[in-house]
Symmetry: C2
Subunit: 664 residues, 2 copies
């Protein structure tokens, strides 16, 4: 066999790992038109098991890309959370029903859909939007990474300071090894009870004289999971300790007389351990089952060989008694050891980044894993896009670690508390101090839900968030302060919190009266949006004010042709739709004229209802004065960056905000 | 060139024509598992122009197949209808705004999406559900049809009384001929101003010695348009006369200062004719423009050569003055002569059927064409399915003509009136008796909208609709009376009209509290549904009543194993969800147990809200007593067939209803 040639190539962004975090980043690259590649060591997608919980913020993000509807339709919906605890007779009974997430947070509720389907929707989206036919290269893994320190600060177009050697596996080499002796798919090979296989894969391929490629990249993003190869090359650590708690997971079609099998449930048995019920699509239910009889050995690791679907089912039956439980169909099973760990660094030289499980691991029961991982790279993608296109200052890349490592730490603290309460034996009475108080568990669940929804994320001050305070304190310790800190006027829009996501309320299009969720107009297309809350345009006084604002805005350099793909203008007014006319009451800058296609009819909205849907009182919910309005800047990821008055000074404020971001 | 062999084959249903009517029928065939074929003389799909208006009932039907969401997302939505009339100065001004359709009729509103996309969704659906890989055979057309009269009453499985000779066109032969001298797609070749080309296609292929196939079929359905070849073979006529009104159509991206260009508008100019504005997807607008300067010649036909996009635009500019109108992009254009015609027969020997434009033609402006055509074959498909499978009496096939020809006649009457009012010059004053009174036009529009929605369809009594009265009088004159007429108890469900479609209201699933539109549970899968309005199950008295009803129902032959794909049971109760439990309060017949997958959790619903959505008061809207309930039978096409009491006598009534339908 001949020694194969190694080829060489260049790309702007190399993404390592095609799970949800990697695919989210690839989606951004496609939308921003960046020359990117994405590789994954596995030869095939994985079709069973894995993550499935989708939190509200993730659904809003999917909607911003345009495929939330596909997820929503296929998913199972979780509306109610039931708690089951031992009664005085020691048998479990339903003690509480609460909403799965607090009503009113979002137009979405929590849903469950297999990770493989989410990956499919990402792949379809990437294919649709990628000019360069960005696609996942499977059976390809990195074996060497080098950063040329002399060139990391050079942002000229032809500079590729990172070199990665890629190795191509044969089809056989790239197949995941299933554990022996089971006809059912199991996830133990990816569980934290198993060793990583990356080194073996590389060594094996070298023996087989597989082919390689040398890629020179501007940026590399490691989305390569808890055993992250990329993280190891950078010498970064995950900090934290495993616990003694071992849990099994069964994805089955349950045959049971347990009444709440189609609801999310937390079950604390008197002394057989705890179980969580997550009803899924296609009649499947996922059961998280505490394996109280299996303990870690001296090395701190549990013996995998003792864990089978049968041992897990036996444990589940004990917890669920006196209700029956059996199954004919098992789709997948696995086991894991609870532990919470967070990465010391998310970023090396603002050139190599880590996202997802590579920088935070925790227990899966709160349904956070896939969500926080995707939200990591959702935070990073548009920043990379703007920097690579030469539009934004490279310094904005530091906000990735500052914003996301802070979230990871919060997540780990939340999971630590929740896991402890859930794995603990219920207190027998008030004197039983070793037991877990079930009222405390309920309160932790309800409070934790807001965090788990992803909607409480509040990014600290930086060049991207114009709010008061100290950038180091509000983030993870990284210095992301702006050269010239601007501070938005929070009081002008009390329902739009600087640093938090732009919430959604229903509005109607001025031109055709169609109802939209306003957030749907903040698409993930890489653009900042200047949202003009135009106020009561039907009043002559406010109309004159709006015209003065628009005159100043239309002469601003922010609307120069080279920024048309970076900054967009969107308008929401508070008059009745029929009291104003698009062409006469709203200056052209709010609905630009094109010589080929006429005026734009999709950029001016009214806080009003139509014949079929009542008005939603959006101004009131956004906390904006109905008469005088204001101007708000939303980042490309829908987080509120800046707020100012609807006048010339407001335009100057917006210009000052962008001065801290855009390259001059 | 050798003479090709002619092959022979058999199929249950041969569908001629793959437009919306043909594809709707093919969708039913796929869902019912029938061995069908569908052929179309055109070699390719047509991508521009054609029909685009989608009425409420069509959307409900799409939803029953599961793809309304795709249509809804891509379509443009029409919410408001504006009327523009001449003012005292003779210039047009907006005189009225009204809702596009009356609020409260349906969860849908009117939308517009190109017919080609609708066909795509049908094709995807057929592919997904067809075991036998049913697919459109393009460039294939029939050239001979023969019915063996001796065998039309023999319904044994091996009897194929119809013989059709199919001819295969070459790729070139099957391409539609565009009119010369225009770079833009036009639809004149399909317009009623043009001759049909079927005979030419056949003659040409014969000269070229193209290949043929002899198909023996049980049933043939001609969905082959206004020039229907099938209709001609049967010797049936379209009755009606053309008018003198010639209209042009432009699909353009308009450049205009007309303020309502993104709303549906009817514009009557003082003396330049009328125009309808239909805003479409992708910034397109369709303009229907009256060509007052073009008149039919002595033969009754207009001269096609005088009609170009320029002449149509000039006419439009005159109507729209003083507003400007121009375009850079024209997607499609055509012209047509208004006329209303309806077929003398829809059915030959209950073996060959005609649907869609083959049996009714009219003007396109009310957006009815595609809708009524699809609803024709939606009415026919499940009946064919049940008869072919040997489950239903062949006599039910007569209800197709009885039900649909009646609708076609109503449609033609509606269109005649609407077209006359729209093509007429507006009255100058009350003394101007030749002119059209604009108030009369508005009233006709508002009244016509309910008809146009498709929701006022009210099928007459027959073996499929248990209501009082005379079957001949209530239909088109065909005798479809039942041997033993049963009459449902309309007073038990005053919001569910016998003969009308089952309206939709929101309900929640008993097992997981998820909100559904109840109509979504009446899927188009070929099954009748026994809808058990279980009443207040939390009351011990009603609970006992329900159990007695269920005991009788579970021993009924209607639930015998061979009918499991024909009759389904669906339950809606009126208690609070949390006051009852699925497994203990509802007998198994309402949520059957399966030894492999446990209980069914998708068949019992509550008239209740959840934490996120308030209750919709469905019992009240269905007009059903909250305490005592009732039982309702919905046909496979969602029309209400029968209503009775929730007791043993009610089960007997339901059995009597089915006795008139099912083969013994």
């Amino acid at each position: 066999m001949a020694v194969p040639d190694s080829i060489e190539s260049e790309c702007d962004v190399l993404i390592i790992g095609a799970g949800p975090a990697g695919l989210m980043l690839a989606a951004w690259m496609a939308r921003c038109g960046i020359n990117a590649r994405i590789v994954d060591k596995r030869g095939t997608k994985i079709y069973n098991g894995q993550a499935d919980g989708l939190q509200l913020r993730s659904l809003e993000i999917f909607d911003s890309f345009g495929f939330a509807d596909r997820v929503w339709k296929e998913a199972n919906h979780l509306l109610e959370f039931c708690m089951w605890n031992p009664g005085e007779d020691g048998l479990i009974r339903r003690s509480d029903r609460v909403p799965d997430v607090a009503p009113g947070l979002s137009r979405f509720t929590e849903i469950v859909l297999h990770q493989g389907r989410i990956e499919r929707f990402f792949l379809d989206h990437i294919k649709k939007h990628s000019k360069d036919s960005l696609r996942v290269e499977r059976g390809v893994l990195p074996e060497a990474l080098e950063i040329d320190q002399d060139r990391i600060h050079d942002h000229s177009a032809g500079n590729y300071p990172i070199t990665v050697q890629l190795r191509y596996l044969s089809e056989e080499e790239a197949m995941p090894v299933q554990s022996k002796g089971s006809a059912v798919n199991d996830g133990l090979f990816r569980s934290n009870l198993a060793e990583d296989d990356t080194e073996d894969l590389i060594a094996n391929s070298r023996r087989n004289q597989g082919s390689t490629e040398t890629v020179r990249a501007k940026y590399v993003v490691g989305c390569d999971g808890a055993h992250s190869w990329t993280r190891k090359q950078l010498g970064f650590q995950l900090e934290g300790e495993p616990t003694d708690h071992i849990w099994g997971v069964l994805d089955i079609i349950p045959i049971t007389d347990f009444p709440d099998i189609r609801k999310r449930c937390a079950i604390h048995s008197a002394d057989a351990g705890s179980m969580m019920v997550i009803p899924r699509e296609k009649k499947l239910t996922r059961l998280y089952i505490q394996l109280t009889e299996i303990k870690p050995d001296a090395s701190g690791r549990a013996d995998r060989s003792k864990i089978t679907p049968d041992t897990i089912l036996k444990a589940a039956k004990k917890i669920l008694a006196p209700y029956s439980l059996s199954y004919e169909y098992c789709d997948w099973w696995t086991a894991y050891q609870i532990g919470q760990r967070v990465g010391t660094n998310f970023d090396k030289d603002s050139r190599v980044f880590l996202a997802g499980d590579a920088v935070h691991t925790h227990s899966p029961k709160a349904g956070q894993g896939m969500n926080v991982s995707m939200q990591d790279s959702y935070n990073l993608g548009w920043k990379l896009g703007l920097v690579i296109k030469g539009i934004a200052e490279p310094s904005i890349l530091k906000t990735y670690q500052s914003e996301r490592r802070r979230i990871a730490k919060d997540l780990i603290a939340f999971d630590h508390k929740f896991s402890r309460l859930f794995s603990g034996r219920p207190a027998k009475d008030l004197m039983d101090e070793e037991g877990v108080n079930m009222e405390e568990f309920k309160q932790a669940f309800v409070k934790g839900n807001l965090f788990a929804s992803g909607l409480s994320v509040d990014y600290g001050t930086s060049m991207l968030v114009g709010k008061p305070g100290d950038a180091v304190e509000q983030g993870d310790g990284t210095d992301v302060s702006s050269k010239t800190q601007v501070v938005g006027k929070q009081e002008l829009a009390t329902g739009l919190k600087l640093g938090m996501r732009f919430p959604s309320h229903q509005v109607i299009n001025q031109s055709d009266a169609r109802v939209w969720e306003f957030q749907q107009k903040l698409k993930s297309d890489g653009r900042f949006r200047i949202v003009v809350f135009a106020g009561n345009v039907a009043s002559p006084q406010q109309n004159a004010r709006l015209k003065a604002f628009c005159q100043r805005l239309s002469s601003s350099s922010l609307l120069a042709p080279h920024l048309v793909k970076t900054i967009d203008v969107l308008t929401l007014h508070s008059s009745k739709r029929i009291d104003v006319e698009l062409l006469t009451d709203f200056p052209d800058v709010l609905h630009p004229f094109d010589s080929k296609t006429g005026w734009d009819y999709d950029s001016v909205y009214a806080d009003d209802g139509n014949y079929y849907t009542p008005g939603a009182d959006a101004y009131n919910k956004y906390g904006v004065d109905r008469e005088t309005g204001c101007v708000v800047v939303a980042r490309p990821d829908q987080y509120v960056g800046y707020i100012d008055t609807l006048d010339e000074a407001g335009v100057q404020g917006v210009e000052a905000y962008f001065a801290g971001i855009l390259r001059t």
